[in-house]
Symmetry: C2
Subunit: 902 residues, 2 copies
């Protein structure tokens, strides 16, 4: 006979913590506490198998279940000295669902089950009438709602009407008789609505509740939640039936919550609060001020209400002892719920406690020092993404938020400043000492100087990988992008939000971690990196296989990257150097050049500037590799907008008509798929030539000063075939030979390519014949593999993710089954063609923990990300190494070991 | 000892026609003719191995070569009764290069080698002085140019000066003494330029010429030609040394060219011309009017000069007999060169003759009827692409072409008409009865009505798969696209070409087969489809495995397609039905709708129109499958341009500001990668719902009339994942169920998807779980795999193809190694997941013969192309079947037999 019920309580249990699949999370947890001998109200769990049986057999429960439940219930009664349905000492129980994974959207709890017109009187005898009838009416309301399917408003409005009639303000004003009346009224509601009375038979109540839990597994909310979270429908849910305990039975009863360590700071000190003569929901409701648990905490808070330590010393000692035991048992900070019923402590819940990133790091490092966990454990316990909280200023937790709109959390951290609408205004106001927020419909490369000047960036269009988002993340500045409910009117100089209008100069705050836009300045909290943080990162570095580099081109960014532990530059976008100061003019002259001769003349002006940029970068990155990408964007990105042509033409002494004509000729229908990347180097080899010269001459210059040399890696973008790479490689080699002839030597360098087009991924073996490294440009690879422009994805991406068509925004987390498959194919084929091919990733995914795990699995050599994400990537890489090591089936793929597509 | 020379002549030869790799094309051919016992001037071939030896050994010839050449030369002398270098009866030879593949750009011929100051006198004795010295000066000039590297202008200007001095007009005015003087002058030029005299030693002359042939294999022109044509450098070239024969030795000598059948009509009749006392170049030069070969031809042409048949009856009979033998031997129409020297016929060349498409078909069909070749051979002999000549009007071969510019040959055929610059003008002028050419910078879907009205379309921007090109091919109208040297000024209403300006109303002609744009009207030649054409297509259909469908949406197109033999519609682009008449207004109302309710209201107006469209289409295509693609382009394509908003808003009674706002909101940075395809159906399921309803109701209506039913195939575009297809499939199924509920039945239909994104190709196994067919949209797949927008490719694609970075424009011929690999992967994986998955291709490649060969090899079920390309695709599919059958290594891939990527 199959075992359908697992008992717990009375110092033992049938189940264990590792039986989560069968008992659900809650059931397994209660069993574990009971096994530890902790005072858990006794009860039993109906297994998830009963649920699957229920659905496999047309919603019929197994025949064997009934006797097993009756037996389990009798045992619970024996432990507490009560009997289910007994009119003298009735056993009351709670019924709760509990699946393997936490699943909001399923049936709520039913408390006080077993109460009826008879047993309520017994309860009144034991405690008091007011308590008994209040409990009864709560039961009718909950049961009516979740089991009988009656709208809870029906009950609530009746209660409100009663209070209004009596002139009561709060439920605490209700007397015993009031509750008796309410119970009658509630029973009348049930009879009216259903045509039969509220079930008086406790057995009927119980089976009704068990059936409701199982039925709720297939309600629409649960189905949707499972679909969104990839939870299989055949997991089923368990049902937990447990004896009721009451914290509201008088002055010797209490209820409380606690954390075994401070969840905010991580300090090792019992932390929590409780209320005398109260139920759990009263603590949460916040109507009465809760009391501290420890004397130390009471003194610190200056409270005049006694601590649990002082008020119930025996209970406190027992509780503190349980805390220590649970922490030692689970080797993790615990979030606990307890109830004291007539001086007896009952543990209702123990689970891992949520905490801030700062607390998480302190707790993990402390636990290693206390010998509770290993350094591996400590590293694995910190969510890499959570480090974001530590690396940027954030809005103070208790600050008031006057939210005026919401966009995408495009770059973390928060900032306040005056609204400016143009990059030039940003610079001007910043120069005068005013912090500013640059507010634009969208940004373009011409806005870079304004983004540098601003504290944060807000756009009303564009996604997580729009220009604003990418550049802001690179700069480590907060950014909210695509705040579609806000309207920017450049002409009027206003930002309109939900009927409120803000002018240039007014102050707003953006929270790039949540996507919120707030009116006015808001209190901030500055980041501080603790010793524990440093310790954790050291442990992480000792454990990771993947190198972590940064995407950077400016000296400040490179310095930030190195200080955050970057092991080189994985992507230096040379075009970002083309917008500053005089350069943009030389770049425009180059674009307007009539022929190669004039183009070379303009390029000659750029050479010393680019060389100086590289000298600076190479100095900062001494001893490390620096990957420099040749010019990538289409040339029209460097030309002024239509409205600015006349002005720009005058400034550069060019003919406006010619400038306009050239701009029109360069215009593209789909610039993402246009004349860019290595196609520029093929069309205008002299551009690549000057860039290569600047790189190699800079490396020579830095090398000549002695000390560690850099390793320049010249990267050819947007390659689709070997022949294309060959054409550009010839230009690079020719230039290197020319420098060698002129100077007598040329620094060591390598030539590689971005793999950012599906065709390149497919032809990787062929391309690897000419490439010394591949850097996966997964931004563009995602755009082309999906055929989705990240600038235009806003129109549908939100719905795609929300409805589960895509599990995540593929621009944020790599799409392993599609884009990832292309990356894996290319890595595998590339390595076969060239065993020492260096493999890295430099798309936005290089800083995304899930994507880094993928990079580890397919055996890449490094990831490269924004400077501010370097610590996150270091930690994520350590996770990836530890997890692949512990799960052999996930271990880094060798070329031969990879599953093939065939 | 290796054999380095292969002799021919005197009724035998060492080589054979199938020794082309060793002897080159010319050498193998001469050997074959000699083996047949034909009168070939004797000679020998120095093998291609000698050439590779030359390059493998630092440009030294093999030691064994010299004695072998001397021996071969002596044998030639024995045959003709002469001796090389002999002052009495000197042997003169020609030296020609000859590689495996025809290679213009290599060394030209050297004739009359062996002449020197002594032997020229012997020649003068044999023939006459004038002839001898003319021959000698020709030799010095040719040898000086191609062996000694002297500029031929040096010689030509000397000859011109001489003629001026004497007052001669033509070379025929030159007398013997004149040529003697010229010979002296030419020798002086050589001595001046080189510091030594013209080589008098025939051996030195010979080795100089042989060395020059081998050296020319590595000249820049040859290297470039090989790179562009994928000819390996290690093939090398052969050298042919052959005894000279002279057609200019007097009235009993002649030279001529002939085709064994009429190369223009295919008629079985000897066709050609000759000149008495002339050399080959005189026939080509056209100074003297050549004479006909046969009496019949002379009578037909009305010539008063005797035919060869009349003038030299014995020679003619021998020649006619040789023609018959050669045709029978090669089983192919021959292009022949011959010379008569003092009454003796010599055959100089026999090769397959070039011919028009019409002639090719007639000849092939006739030869089958004559029992010379099999029907398989006949099918394989016709280049499918050549059928284009037959299906469209073309410019008459002898018409004068006043070319004013050139673009891409985007849609074949030629047309003349008045210039119009807008679609509306096109309609107006057409309505008045004037043929027009629509001239645009580029076209958009709004121009469709103008394209319908126009005889042809000319654009100055856009590639082979730009909107104009694709639509024009679909309509079977000539189109020249991307004519970048032309400028269109809409405001001025002018087209400017190379300094000439054409106004609206002036007539131009476009040749969509060549890309030429011509001033004025030009004489045309109308297509006519012969009985032989019908016979050939029947044979082709009997031999092909692939089905051929058409891309069509209008009734005329569908009718054309069916008349051309289409076996269904492979792609009906429903959006093309959205631009006509009232529809565009309903479409715009739908786009402007505030919510689903308003959108449904607008869609309700479209339903009867779409249904009527499908009814018409289904009637035409009874008994055949019709694949209908749901709405694909981004909605902004249906909105008016900025300049037309006010007008359109008024016409539709909408608010202009609202229309402008909506248009701005829908604007996209990269529309190709935007909110389109199935993303529209996911965002607005009601659009798909109405389209599906129109399809199914139309099928019901047509089915109700009895007779053969259509097989509607509903195709979901731009799918990237199974989940996306699922979301749209649910809408389709829901709609079908609704129709079934309303009408009691629903017609049979299938649901499938386009595979046009790299991610879909990678995830094909998963997608096939929900798709009953895949149609490869290789246009978009090429765009996304390469990351190249076809609208913007013009800036670099020409250079990429010209420089060999790409072997061909991948939008014209499928890129087998990249895009093709994705298609193959998807086909293979799809079939594994669903064995009966129907596979087709509906991109432009569906009509390209090379791509069709690829489709055959990977085992697709059908190709779909423009209606006018259906016959081409049918023939190409037959080729593909025959070729894969005859070459097992190319046979259609089975899922298990495919090479895998791993």
């Amino acid at each position: 006979m199959r075992k359908w019920t697992y008992a717990f309580g009375g110092g033992r249990a049938d189940g264990r913590a590792d039986m989560r699949d069968l008992l659900g999370g809650k059931g397994a947890n209660l069993a574990e506490m009971a096994n530890l001998g902790l005072p858990v109200p006794p009860g039993f769990t109906v297994t998830t198998e009963a649920c699957t049986h229920y659905y496999d057999h047309d919603r019929h429960l197994p025949d064997e279940l009934k006797p097993q439940v009756e037996e389990a219930l009798a045992e619970v009664g024996r432990i507490v000295g009560r009997t289910f349905g007994d009119a003298a000492r009735p056993l009351l129980v709670s019924v709760r669902s509990g699946s393997r994974a936490s699943m909001p959207g399923m049936m709520d709890t039913v408390l006080n089950l077993g109460l009826n017109d008879a047993t309520v009187e017994a309860l009144a005898q034991e405690a008091d009438r007011r308590f008994a009838y209040d409990s009864y009416r709560r039961f009718i309301q909950m049961y009516g709602d979740v089991v009988l399917g009656l709208d809870h408003h029906l009950f609530e409005s009746k209660l409100s009407a009663h209070k209004d009639q009596r002139g009561y303000l709060n439920d605490t004003d209700m007397q015993g008789d009031d509750w008796v009346e309410i119970v009658d009224a509630f029973k009348a509601i049930v009879a009216d609505e259903l045509g039969h009375g509220f079930p008086q038979d406790p057995q009927e109540q119980l089976w009704g509740a068990i059936g409701a839990v199982f039925a709720s597994w297939m309600n629409q909310r649960a189905i949707t939640y499972r679909r969104l979270n990839n939870i299989p429908a055949d997991w089923g849910t368990a049902v937990n039936v447990q004896a009721m305990v009451f914290g509201n039975m008088g002055g010797n009863s209490a209820t409380g919550v606690a954390f075994t360590r401070n969840p905010s700071t991580g300090e090792k000190a019992l932390y929590g609060e409780f209320l005398v003569n109260a139920q759990g929901e009263d603590v949460v409701a916040g109507i009465r001020t809760p009391q501290d648990l420890t004397e130390e905490a009471r003194l610190a808070s200056g409270s005049d209400k006694p601590s649990l330590q002082a008020a119930m010393p025996a209970v406190f000692d027992e509780f503190a002892d349980i805390c220590t035991r649970l922490e030692a048992h689970y080797r993790e900070m615990q979030d606990l719920e307890f109830t004291v019923e007539n001086g007896k402590l009952w543990m209702l819940q123990a689970r891992s406690g949520k905490r801030t990133a700062k607390a998480a790091i302190r707790i993990a490092v402390d636990m290693v020092r206390e010998g509770m966990i290993s350094a591996d454990d400590a590293v694995l316990r910190i969510d890499p993404e959570a480090l974001n909280q530590l690396l940027h200023p954030t809005i103070a937790p208790h600050a008031t938020r006057d939210t005026i709109g919401r966009g995408l959390p495009a770059s973390p951290g928060a900032a306040s400043g005056e609204i400016v609408f143009t990059a030039d205004q940003a610079e001007e106001q910043k120069a005068k000492g005013y912090p500013v927020i640059l507010v634009r419909v969208e940004t373009s490369p011409e806005d870079i100087h304004g983004m540098h000047a601003a504290e944060g960036i807000l756009t009303t269009r564009g996604g997580m990988t729009s220009h604003a988002a990418v550049v802001a993340r690179g700069m480590g500045k907060p950014c909210v992008s695509g705040a579609g409910s806000l309207r920017v009117d450049y002409d009027a100089g206003t930002l309109t939000a939900d009927g409120r209008t803000f002018k240039a100069g007014e102050t707003i705050t953006i929270d790039g971690s949540t996507g919120e836009v707030l009116a006015g300045a808001v209190e901030m909290q500055q980041p501080e990196l603790s010793d524990e943080f440093a310790q954790l990162m050291t442990w992480a570095d000792e454990r990771r296989r993947l190198d972590v580099r940064a995407n950077a081109e400016t000296s400040p960014d490179a310095r930030t990257a190195r200080s955050f532990g970057a092991e080189g530059i994985g992507l230096c976008r040379t075009e970002h150097m083309f917008f500053d100061g005089d350069r943009i003019q030389a770049v425009r002259e180059m674009i307007l050049a009539e022929d190669e001769t004039h183009r070379r003349r303009a390029l000659a002006k750029l050479l010393p500037m680019q060389r100086a940029d590289f000298v600076a970068l190479f100095e900062i990155m001494r001893g490390l590799p620096v990957t420099i990408r040749l010019l990538d964007p289409p040339l029209h990105e460097f030309l002024p907008k239509a409205s600015e042509i006349a002005e720009v033409a005058e400034a550069m002494g060019a003919d406006a008509a010619r400038l306009r004509e050239r701009a029109q000729a360069l215009q593209e229908v789909n610039p993402m798929l246009g004349h860019r990347g290595c196609r520029l180097a093929v069309s205008y080899p002299e551009i690549a030539e000057v860039q290569v010269r600047a790189i190699l001459e800079a490396a020579l210059e830095v090398g000549a000063k002695g000390g560690e040399a850099v390793e320049p890696e010249i990267m050819v973008p947007l390659v689709s075939s070997r022949t294309e790479l060959e054409a550009v490689s010839e230009v690079i080699e020719r230039t290197a030979r020319a420098i060698e002839a002129e100077r007598g030597s040329v620094p060591a360098y390598t030539v590689g390519t971005m793999i950012e087009l599906p065709r390149a991924a497919v032809a990787a073996a062929d391309i690897a014949a000419r490439a010394e490294f591949f850097s996966f440009g997964t931004n563009d690879l995602t755009q082309t593999a999906f055929g989705i422009s990240r600038d235009d994805a806003g129109a549908f991406m939100g719905h795609y993710v929300a409805s589960g068509i895509l599990p995540a925004d593929p621009f944020v987390t790599i799409d392993q089954d599609g884009v990832g498959m292309l990356v894996r194919m290319a890595a595998e084929q590339g390595r076969r063609a060239r065993a020492d091919l260096k493999l890295g990733i430099c798309g936005e995914h290089g800083g995304d923990p899930a994507s880094i795990m993928f990079c580890e699995r397919i055996g890449l050599d490094y990831v490269s990300c924004s400077p501010y994400r370097v610590p996150i990537a270091r930690l994520a890489a350590a996770h990836a190494s530890l997890l692949t090591r512990s799960s052999p089936e996930l271990s880094p793929a060798t070329p031969d070991g990879l599953p093939t597509l065939a």
